[in-house]
């Protein structure tokens, strides 16, 4: 009896391995028989970042359909092989090894978010693959990989460039503000942004009078905002994720926060559902964005893309307008596709060299990468919400509700200062 049980265990273990082997070989056999170009990636389709992740996937699929309508890449149809990483870094290595070793994809791109991009880096570095990446803050600072390309337009020094616009605008005001409060969510990007904000504050000569982080899962931000108010800062720089962004804006309005500038790095204020809900509470907040409807940002193809996205996004429980991540998700596929066509193949070294040298034309305008894979020039926009009406989604489709203040070449209006006018 006992012998049978131990035997059972050993045979169970070998049975699992055999099953895994069998299914693996079946998959790879199937893969090698076909002709399409396979692009592999993991994406946050469940978990905390899934709202944006699903929206990004929709945009990427629009690109795939567009490119296949035109005959594909190098005359071959494009296929995606992707898996849900559940916004969990621990699933990423397994997914990318499967994509590369079992599914044998031809090209890889990243997942969404700093925590989902980093775990894949050692794997792509080992295989010396070109790695176009979607919105991770300063990931390459750790790895210095020369085949990493980041489509988020943070700029050559992403941590600093993220908040530079906010502080530069502040330093241009008369009289010059003196103090700044920094509040950040306790997780990857927000902490990096806050670190950059601290450095920028020093560079531009502001004194930091409040500098704290809050844990995710904080239900009410009233005590935090009051503590900030008690220091009477001139500037309030917030680096937050959607629940914190909403909570801090609401608390700020309830408390009656008196500051000369408020905003900075709040994720979520770019999402249609949140914009509609906050409505007039957004008035005069200066926050980052990557694209807004403005004359200065009317790139070829962007409006057609957004229309296609709005159609595709209906009923999927994602951001209906898609102004934040989707255009860039589309653009980075464009970059990859154009590089493949231009180098007439998928030689990773040639692709990397091409991507470093050339400027690409995409729906988000001209894209040029620097030596560390980040954008050669920053295009972190600082926008200000103006004349926001309550409960109106449509106003965010039009120019005027989000005025671009910075950088200078994309400016579409002048700033209302101070914030609490």
């Amino acid at each position: 009896m006992i012998k049978r049980r131990s035997f059972m265990r050993a045979s169970l273990a070998s049975g699992v391995v055999a099953l895994a082997l069998a299914s693996g070989s079946l998959v790879s056999f199937g893969a090698q028989a076909a002709q399409p170009i396979k692009i592999g990636f993991s994406m946050a389709l469940s978990g905390g970042l899934a709202g944006a992740g699903k929206a990004a996937l929709i945009a990427m699929q629009i690109w795939k359909d567009d490119i296949n309508k035109k005959g594909g890449l190098l005359g071959r149809p494009v296929e995606f092989v992707y898996y849900d990483d559940a916004t969990s870094p621990s699933t990423v290595p397994g997914i990318y090894t499967k994509l590369l070793d079992v599914d044998k994809v031809d090209l890889v791109v990243s997942s969404y978010g700093t925590n989902e991009i980093s775990p894949a880096m050692p794997i792509v570095m080992r295989k010396k693959l070109v790695f176009p990446s979607l919105f991770g803050l300063a990931v390459n600072d750790q790895f210095n990989y020369n085949r990493y390309f980041q489509i988020m337009p943070a700029g050559p020094e992403p941590k600093l460039d993220w908040s530079k616009g906010f502080f530069e605008l502040a330093s241009q005001q008369h009289p010059k503000p003196e103090t700044v409060a920094i509040i950040a969510a306790d997780s990857d990007f927000a902490l990096a942004a806050a670190a950059g904000a601290r450095e920028n504050a020093k560079k531009f000569g502001f004194k930091v009078v409040y500098d704290k982080t809050y844990p995710p899962g904080t239900p009410d931000f009233t005590p935090i905002v009051r503590a900030i108010q008690a220091e009477r800062p001139d500037l309030v720089f917030v680096a937050s994720y959607p629940p914190g962004s909403v909570g801090i804006v609401k608390a700020a309005r309830e408390v009656g926060l008196k500051a000369k500038m408020f905003g900075g790095g709040m994720v979520g204020l770019q999402f249609a559902g949140i914009q509609k809900n906050l409505g007039p509470m957004l008035e005069n907040i200066v926050n980052y964005h990557f694209w807004v409807p403005a004359k200065t940002l009317n790139f070829p193809g962007i409006n057609e893309f957004l229309k296609k996205y709005e159609q595709a996004a209906k009923g999927k429980g994602v951001d209906p307008l898609g102004q934040y991540l989707p255009p860039y998700a589309y653009a980075y596929m464009q970059v990859l596709g154009q590089a493949v066509e231009a180098t007439h193949g998928m030689n990773q070294a040639k692709l990397a060299a091409y991507m470093h040298k050339h400027t690409f034309d995409t729906v988000v305008g001209k894209v040029k990468f620097g030596s560390n894979g980040e954008w050669a020039q920053t295009r972190m926009l600082m926008t200000q919400f103006r004349n926001v009406k309550p409960n109106d989604l449509d106003q965010f489709r039009k120019e005027g509700t989000q005025v671009v203040l910075y950088p200078h070449q994309w400016k579409s209006g002048t700033m209302v200062y101070p914030f609490d006018k």
Binding site: S6, V16, L21, G94, V102, P119, P122, D186, D188
Partner: protein, 318 residues
């Protein structure tokens, strides 16, 4: 008696030999990745079951031990500049978590049943907050570990990690089996069934509970120690995740908590299903799967798969 021992150790040797063979024959890293995760789950399940299944104290804070093991590993690696070899890191993690386990054992003096479980949950949250605020460890931003391409004679680093965790898991199973079948195990079962009666009957309940919690803690810490090298990026949110804690409970429950092989069966089954789902359908279904299996097994087969097997054999024997 002799025959019984031989069968177990022989199968262990077969598994180890099989593992080594795989590292030569199989070149797709993906399978080693998947097997690593399944083995890690098995190790956690076996560890949990020592306190949960054998002794009857339900630990909600398994993720706490796991994460402390992982972070001990990261800390020592950083502090000594990558100079320490993995076995040393594992031993250190085991020691730290064993001490925490010892503390938890003393906690069980004052708290029983569900109070104990909530205390373990609270403890895990306190650790998570402490580590989130510890800048040297990267705080909430997480910590990176860069791993080399190959190691010793293995074709890739993950193959080495796979063998390491295979050996660790087999070791844990051996310990668990020893506990289950020994006099010590009968003492633990007595505590599980009725602690007061056991105390009255002369069972040294405090000592046994301390052994149980310390072992559980050490084994969970051991499970966590190689994790940073496997995943290369660790942050408190993923290390202290509720999913780790729930899997540690679900796997033994599904397999059967009273026998040492229960957690192994549950972990291999549930773990494999989770791995397959991750790369086929979608990861959120993994969560649904755990939910459905838990509900299903717990209502229909409360003694787990082992219980079902025992019922079947008993019926056959009639």
């Amino acid at each position: 008696m002799k025959l019984r021992v031989n069968a177990f150790w022989v199968s262990c040797a077969v598994v180890v030999g099989g593992g080594l063979m795989l590292t030569e024959v199989l070149h797709n890293d993906y399978y080693f990745n998947a097997m690593y995760v399944i083995l890690q789950g098995t190790l956690m399940a076996v560890a949990w079951n020592i306190l949960g299944g054998f002794t009857g104290y339900v630990n909600f804070g398994s993720a706490g031990f796991f994460a402390v093991g992982a972070y001990t590993s990261i800390f020592l690696d950083k502090y000594f500049g990558h100079a320490l070899p993995l076995p040393v890191l594992i031993a250190a993690a085991a020691l730290v978590c064993a001490l925490i386990g010892l503390g938890v054992g003393y906690l069980s003096l004052r708290l029983k049943g569900v109070y104990f479980s909530i205390a373990t949950l609270a403890m895990a949250i306190v650790f998570a907050t402490l580590i989130s605020n510890w800048r040297y460890m990267g705080g909430a931003r997480g910590a990176y570990i860069l791993t080399p391409e190959t190691f010793l004679w293995f074709h890739s680093y993950i193959q080495m990690l796979f063998m390491v965790i295979l050996l660790l898991t087999l070791g844990a199973v051996a310990i668990s089996r020893y506990l289950n079948t020994s006099r010590l195990g009968r003492g633990l079962a007595a505590i599980r069934d009725d602690e007061v009666a056991a105390e009255c009957a002369g069972v040294p309940t405090l000592r046994l509970k301390l052994i149980s919690t310390t072992l559980m803690g050490a084994l969970m810490g051991i499970a966590g120690a190689p994790y940073p090298f496997f995943v290369t990026f660790v942050d408190p949110a993923s290390a202290f995740s509720l999913f780790v804690a729930v899997n540690a409970i679900a796997m033994p429950m599904i397999g059967g908590t009273s026998h040492w092989i229960g957690p192994v069966i549950g972990a291999v089954l549930l773990g494999s299903m989770q791995q397959v789902i991750t790369v086929t359908v979608s990861s959120e279904l993994n969560v649904l799967l755990v939910g459905l299996m838990l509900v299903g097994f717990v209502t229909l087969a409360p003694q787990g798969i082992v219980g079902l097997a025992q019922k079947y054999w008993r019926r056959r024997a009639r």
